[in-house]
Symmetry: C2
Subunit: 559 residues, 2 copies
Amino acid sequence: MTHTLSRRPLRRFWGWGHADATLSAQELSTLGLMLSQLDVGGALRPEPQLHEFTLAPSRVQPPAALAHLFSATPLDRLNHSAGKSFADCARMWLRQPPPAPDWVVYPDNEQDVVDVLDWAVRHNVAVIPYGGGSSVCGGVEVAVGGGYTAAISLDMERMHRVLEVDPVSRAARVQAGALGPELAAQLKTHGLALRHFPQSYEFSTLGGWIVTRAGGHYAMQYTHIDDFVECTRLVTPQGVMQTRRLPGSGAGPAPDRLVLGSEGSLGVLTEAWVRLQVPPVFRASASVKFDDYGAAAQCLRALSQSGLNPSNCRLLDAMETVVSGVGDGSCAVLVLGFESDDHPLHAWMARALALVDSYGGRYDAAAVARSQEGPGSQEHRIGTAGAWRDAFLRMPYWRDPMVGQGAIMDTVETAITWERFADFYRDVRAELAAVIERTTGMEAMVSCRITHVYPDGVAPYFTFACGTRDGSVASALAAWRDIKQAANAVLVAHGGTITHHHAVGRDHRSGYDREVDPLFRAMLASAKHTVDPQAVMNPGVLVDPVGRPLGLTGVLGSA
Amino acid sequence: MTHTLSRRPLRRFWGWGHADATLSAQELSTLGLMLSQLDVGGALRPEPQLHEFTLAPSRVQPPAALAHLFSATPLDRLNHSAGKSFADCARMWLRQPPPAPDWVVYPDNEQDVVDVLDWAVRHNVAVIPYGGGSSVCGGVEVAVGGGYTAAISLDMERMHRVLEVDPVSRAARVQAGALGPELAAQLKTHGLALRHFPQSYEFSTLGGWIVTRAGGHYAMQYTHIDDFVECTRLVTPQGVMQTRRLPGSGAGPAPDRLVLGSEGSLGVLTEAWVRLQVPPVFRASASVKFDDYGAAAQCLRALSQSGLNPSNCRLLDAMETVVSGVGDGSCAVLVLGFESDDHPLHAWMARALALVDSYGGRYDAAAVARSQEGPGSQEHRIGTAGAWRDAFLRMPYWRDPMVGQGAIMDTVETAITWERFADFYRDVRAELAAVIERTTGMEAMVSCRITHVYPDGVAPYFTFACGTRDGSVASALAAWRDIKQAANAVLVAHGGTITHHHAVGRDHRSGYDREVDPLFRAMLASAKHTVDPQAVMNPGVLVDPVGRPLGLTGVLGSA
């Protein structure tokens, strides 16, 4: 296969996972049921093929000294033309992808990154940093407009090494391009782990997690990658910015906090020191059923304010239990778990279950007792918690054929303080359903799971799905554009954030601009202008560069 | 008393606490012992009196519409001319205070703040925001230079109200000028508390804590005020910037994180929503002795990496036990505590003591058992933990007569990762002692306590004291300038941060500039320029404003 300079197993350019990923017979059967529930049917449509896509010629010549890092093969360019949002996949099914980058560049080391940025600045070339490409908000797409000569996608895959491990402080210096499993494998030899597991884990990188403030494994305390970051190293067009390895500091505004969430707009993250864990040997988990969702939410609040800090504390509403395949839609399910490498968790779980009892939750006490693991146990992945976790990781795979059949399936996620949650949960679902029905003429399925909790609030994650009248992917994409813009407005209008952990990218810009004070956005644009005066870094995400008003770009901007 | 527009009980302009604060007979006796140990003697010198100070005339007329908020009485101006560092107090004992602000302004509300900033911008007047005035790093001092027409101190004391309480999310909207006890009293009626207790608690404000990233009560998790901040409201010269009340978000770089640590350089914090606690009803504490400091530090590391998250986990080295009056200098003491409003802490303490046992710590098991408190108990302040806490709060009071007698007594605090700590602890103490002895010709007393711990590191807090050859305050101040500059360099050279929770101000600028990447400082200066283009906000702290190169100002700059 000479269609790519990538050294990784071939990815599916038009959807999720490896090129040869398939659904099991059972998954196919359930898929059929889901499609029929959405009134979307017919034989599965043929998957997109590379030869069906024609790309515009590359508009610039790579510098001779770096030419070996540059690829313009159709597969590389197509693979880097979009992330993995519903709209990204729909455009692939339509054989109408967004503009491909002129080149995909694979730096071997930091000097390559420096050299590529220097070249890009000299030639007015936009640079889109690319980690695993799992963005679901238009974070890795080429912005149209702005007067750039060309655009390159800077794929960090070759910079995937753990460079140093500090077992005393439990930290490691890691190159930004390491995918989740690559990072885990290298740390495992040291008996350590990051334990940051976003849904995209297999196909997203440490650098991507950091610049998008990804959400991970822990329901509390370490909800985002943010708190695992000890320091960062960022190559900007004006030079390298290195922060200091520190457990904590009060020296002015925290420099790392400007890098976290910068989404490639300030420069290219090349490495970071991250805080690690010793993998847990003690575990306890419970699956709790609630007939009353209001009581379940109250229980969740009590748990979040208890100081017990469960590592898992996820609440699936009745509809979500169906989507996740862990329930029949008759009740809400709370997935509760504790983990530790230091101590047994009986006291923690006992107190959590006492709270659960007081809010009317039901659970199998014997199963909870069996879930208590200690040294020497194998990690169990049994019961509702295990089923939920497996379904969680398989979910993106499901979406591909659904998109191909003309179904709309997407998620929006946010955060809101506790005192607003009940109204928010009711109103956001109702308004999402209303806009979906108005746009598609079809009944919407809207479900919600709580992914992370805080003493003062909660992060709800809504999934919606529906068909369209004519069942075409084109209709679905057109409707999705309206739904997405409405969703951006709804979340922010009801007091939420435009994103709890998916990032802003290009697709959430309209909500971000509503949510975040213009003075802060102006300060961010000034900071960007200081390190990227020619505005070559990922134009279109977060804020418009000074002097280059781009406005809304990406799939929503081109609508 | 008409010498002040302040409505608060009169403060001691030349030192710590209320104007009428005194030391007890026992404290006076111990003070005598300490002075003689430092070879500093003689009868106590007369305290500074207001009439001994002559201030330059105010250089600007207040605007008529706001004149009722402006005070130029000597006491107000003198009280606002400096913070409470060793150098600040020494200059008062010398009757040579830093330049006083031309006016002290007491806004009643946010509109007053807006109007004052508008006036300051129009008249090229520097604005120094002032909370409780407890800065120990030159944060509230008038910068000399920069070509300002005049300088005002903006005292937030009248904006001290809790405006809203949300008992569901456990949060409150509070005006920035509330002192610790004012905030606590207002929250208590709602059964809630912030539980952020810096040493300056009585004389520092919520706004001051936020803009300096103050360190508080909790040894872990909530080490800084940062994590208690839900959102902020900042009046800048370009308008009001309001962030959104959210439990968490991933929408770009976190806006509040730019406000946190901004030290008045971007604008005036007028209010914030902060996360609250229900006061604990369960408590458990232990005082643990270690003969071997290395083993004590290892134990501290084990505790910090255990996931037990003790609320107190402070390690005093042998010398520090003497300074704090909780030991005889024969061994190190670990003050360990847990607190909860939700659950008994037996399991937590039992596991912590098992760790303590494994590192050779000694404790009174019966005393630990007695320390276990539940609902209905009164809060105990007994044993070593209680003695340490009382000494901690009284420490600033002690310093005043010591400074007057010509002793040098100061602290430097920092943070460092675990794998460097042993060398750091040895080297910083040695280098501090060496520079003190070189500058003063006297033997130095250097002690260390660990104030906060993290899974990946530790926050050491060094106290040093010595006399000078001639016993004069002038010699002490001259020596202190050299010691302070050396300390700034030493902390950063050995990998630490210039400040873990005292802020940068003017006195830590030389260390800050070494520690923090020039690209970040340039971005911060750009951000400042965006909201404060005339650079009137607290010139001299953190970074030089664009177009107004001030360099090192304050007590070190004028040396």
